[in-house]
Point group: C2
Chain length 162, copies 2
């Protein structure tokens, strides 16, 4: 059947791709210039630090962030290499493991948030009123949620860092 998208839908698609790419680039650049690791590290550290116990199963991390399994596995490798997290074996299920954030990890997450939040403000907040940001949010949610999963219970304030 191959129905064609309306020109509005197509335009929205193009904007979504281009604008995201630019804004992400800008924010990543800001972080890099401040001497910090990539955003993905922050996301992982944040998820870990948000867990009551400071630890998560790789599988859970993988679902929170939208990464493939192998990608999560290697991200954890790097965090561990840098002393930002530790692997801990899982008693109840010996296939699995836990990843626990270290103090250094928590520190880095907090420090990054300073730069990160400034970058968000600069590249997003400064260009949109709160009302418009909320509208944007609502429209984007309509695209994401119907995607199959719900997966947005704790996302809503995922940056309540510090």
């Amino acid at each position: 059947m191959k129905k064609k998208p309306s020109s509005e839908a197509t335009a929205a698609w193009i904007r979504l791709m281009r604008v995201q790419s630019r804004v992400l680039d800008a924010v990543e650049q800001d972080l890099k210039k401040a001497g910090f690791p990539p955003l993905a590290w922050y996301d992982a550290l944040l998820e870990l630090s948000r867990s009551p116990t400071g630890e998560l199963r790789p599988v859970e991390l993988e679902k929170q962030m939208l990464l493939p399994q192998y990608s999560t596995s290697r991200l954890i490798d790097r965090l561990v290499d840098e002393g930002l997290a530790m692997r801990r074996e899982c008693e109840s299920d010996k296939r699995g493991q836990f990843v626990e954030i270290t103090e250094a990890g928590r520190d880095l997450q907090k420090k990054m948030w300073t730069s990160y939040s400034a970058a968000i403000e600069r590249h997003v907040g400064a260009k949109l009123s709160d009302a418009d940001a909320a509208k944007l949010c609502g429209l984007l949610d309509r695209l994401g949620c119907a995607c199959g999963e719900m997966a947005a219970p704790l996302v809503k304030d995922a940056a309540q860092a510090r």
Copy 2:
């Protein structure tokens, strides 16, 4: 000064990243399942085919798509390898060159558009009314355009394929 972003701005940022990632993924998967090359190839072929002469300088291509110079260079390599484009030397400026789309390239672009447009409809059009898509567009533009460049003269109907 490091001003903090409002929670609305932060939420919008997070949605922008996550939703784009999901939707892009979905569309790329659709294309891949249909046996087509990555989206970037389509974008490049479209830009080339849109040029009146069917050719562009790599530098121009690089500006249209949001790619770094070396990335464009290698993308062209692949297109040429597959017979979808040809390199042609530039008379007036011997440093430069022209990249010209071939018939095979035009064909592929058109064929991809069938799948591509269906994917856009499925993952964007179907989830948003035209009015909402237009709103989304407007909000996104506010984020992208103030970015420094204008760079959206021909983007507005960049998918007027076929």
